[in-house]
């Protein structure tokens, strides 16, 4: 695992203390059902956190609550020291906390180009629009080729690239990725990891939900396992963790370590 320590600008940690993102006892859900039963997690400045755990246990719900799509019934969310609990999504976006949602269903009737333009909707983002677009086209040459194609007609993977692209166009100060590798071919997955890593090292902390733990561990060093809407386990940065341990935790939810580990 690449150690995070070096190359992280301490300046990236603003007045609010050394915490980029801070979640305290978050409770939320849909309608009558409560999904999150008090989740707490801290994101040290300059560190990326990864969330994993079985399907349907609240990872996405957590992210949606953080970025204001869902009301928090109780608990706090702070971003760079600011309290953003139940703030409007556009206020949160304006602060630079960008969320790339799960599933690649962005704007089906827009072309890639239009969608990217829309990604840079906030004044903040507009400033860096050109640069960001360049960068995205570098990471995903395919998007550049197809920039005039309607998103609904893209292939699954291409759509995933597009939605990550839209997120990056928001010129994030911190980026939330929900299952970013969904449907991506192995190679582009690798390149994505590398690219995101570089951007992140230049001072853009990440929150990543991912089923592919390998990928997760490439990007992040502080892991939380979400189970039944609670933090079931976590690994702090710098803490020595070995692969098998993680797997064990991971499969703790049933299923045994298959013989087909690559």
């Amino acid at each position: 695992m690449t150690a995070p320590a070096e190359g992280v600008p301490a300046a990236a940690a603003p007045e609010g203390g050394s915490l980029t993102l801070e979640v305290e006892g978050l409770v939320s859900g849909y309608g009558r059902v409560t999904i999150l039963h008090g989740v707490s997690l801290d994101m040290q400045a300059g560190h990326n956190i990864g969330l994993f755990g079985p399907n349907g246990h609240g990872k996405t719900t957590l992210l949606r609550t953080v970025s204001g799509l869902l009301r928090a019934r109780s608990g706090r969310v702070r971003f760079q020291g600011r309290d953003i609990t139940n703030a409007k999504p556009r206020q949160i976006v304006a602060l630079g906390l960008i969320h790339v949602a799960q599933g690649n269903q962005i704007f089906p009737d827009l072309t890639i180009q239009e969608a990217l333009k829309l990604g840079a909707y906030t004044p903040r983002a507009r400033a860096a629009e050109a640069a960001n677009q360049e960068r995205i086209y570098e990471i995903f040459p395919r998007l550049k080729e197809r920039r005039r194609q309607q998103i609904r007609t893209l292939s699954g993977g291409e759509r995933q690239m597009a939605s990550i692209g839209v997120g990056l166009m928001g010129d994030p100060k911190a980026l939330i990725l929900d299952e970013p590798t969904l449907g991506l071919a192995p190679r582009i997955k690798e390149e994505l990891a590398a690219a995101i890593r570089t951007i992140s090292d230049a001072g853009m902390p990440l929150v990543v939900v991912e089923q592919d733990v390998e990928f997760l561990m490439e990007l992040t060093d502080q892991l939380y396992m979400i189970n039944h809407g609670e933090v079931a386990a976590q690994i702090r940065p710098g803490e020595q963790i070995d692969h098998e341990e993680i797997m064990a935790m991971y499969f703790g939810t049933g299923g045994n370590v298959g013989e087909t580990v690559l």
Partner: protein
């Protein structure tokens, strides 16, 4: 020559009216993905409000002041409309049908409110510009000439706004995926409001055109609405270009057909042509992706 000229004028004139009604409808459809059956009564209402402001029996203001004021009122009404009749149903499975019925109901309400407020007797607005103009030696009412001239300008403006500005882009995006729009930092409620206000203003303007053209009655909005529906669907609902083109196309078709085969069978012929066209181009005249309806 004479006939040719008349046909061209007729095409341009009716085309302008159709387009004016249709574009508001198309705007709502391409942005929010619903049909606003209130569009017709918007026209009626705006005509009557303008009449109230301009007529001696009313406040007797100058025509253009009255029009501006009336349009402002329409914007507000449009906004209220979406707040009460559309917004609550966003994201529901059969929103299209639900909104059809809520806006139809609103249509009934406003139509009868007009009836109660201004009574059933016919009224008329002063023409935008009185008198007859002379084009290439042919006479044409200045009012109609004005309509022929300014409509394309207005349509062009709307088109540019929707296709060339970031706000226009947001307007088109917002209903495609509300969550994604929120995560891009859009002010979603504002977008819906904007779309409706804009289309109400456009319909209102059409109403003012009608009011200066024929007698106003509380039910004057129905026919233009139906026509607009035909135009919008035929033009293809992917964007605004289709409906606008369709409006003029249909108008010219009618003018030519009326002149050569007579008024009587023209509608039937038109509908036959529409059906056949759609059999060949199932996605409308200008092929583009139709929205999912359910």
């Amino acid at each position: 020559m004479n006939a040719a000229f008349e046909i061209v004028i007729s095409g341009l004139f009716s085309g302008s009216l159709y387009a004016m009604m249709a574009v508001g409808l198309a705007l709502i459809w391409t942005t929010i993905g619903v049909f606003n059956f209130g569009q017709g009564v918007f026209a009626t209402l705006c005509a009557y409000i303008t009449w109230q402001l301009v007529d001696a029996a009313g406040f007797g203001l100058p025509l253009f002041v009255s029009i501006i004021l009336a349009l402002a009122v329409m914007a507000v009404i449009g906004w209220l409309f979406q707040l009460a009749l559309v917004r609550p149903f966003i994201g529901q499975p059969n929103i299209v049908l639900t909104v059809v019925i809520t806006t139809l109901a609103a249509f009934t309400i406003l139509e009868n409110v007009t009836l109660l407020t201004w009574g059933p007797r016919p009224k008329q607005l002063p023409p935008l510009i009185p008198g007859n103009a002379d084009v290439l030696g042919f006479g044409i009412a200045a009012h109609q000439l004005t309509i022929i001239v300014i409509t394309p300008l207005i349509l062009a403006a709307v088109w540019l706004f929707l296709n060339r500005t970031r706000t226009g882009l947001a307007l088109r995006a917002v209903s495609q995926n509300e969550d994604a729009s929120l995560l891009a930092g859009l002010n979603v409620p504002m977008m819906y409001a904007l779309a409706f206000a804009l289309s109400a203003v456009l319909a209102g303007l059409a109403g003012v055109f009608f009011g200066g053209l024929k007698f106003m009655s509380p039910t004057m909005g129905t026919e233009p609405l139906v026509k607009a529906l035909v135009v919008v669907i035929f033009g293809g609902v992917a964007n605004l270009t289709g409906p606008i083109l369709a409006a003029y196309l249909i108008a010219f078709f009618e003018a030519v057909a009326t002149y050569f085969i007579g008024f009587y069978w023209t509608p039937a012929l038109l509908f036959l042509v529409l059906i056949v066209t759609l059999m060949v181009r199932p996605e409308g005249l200008l092929t583009g992706r139709s929205r999912r309806l359910t």
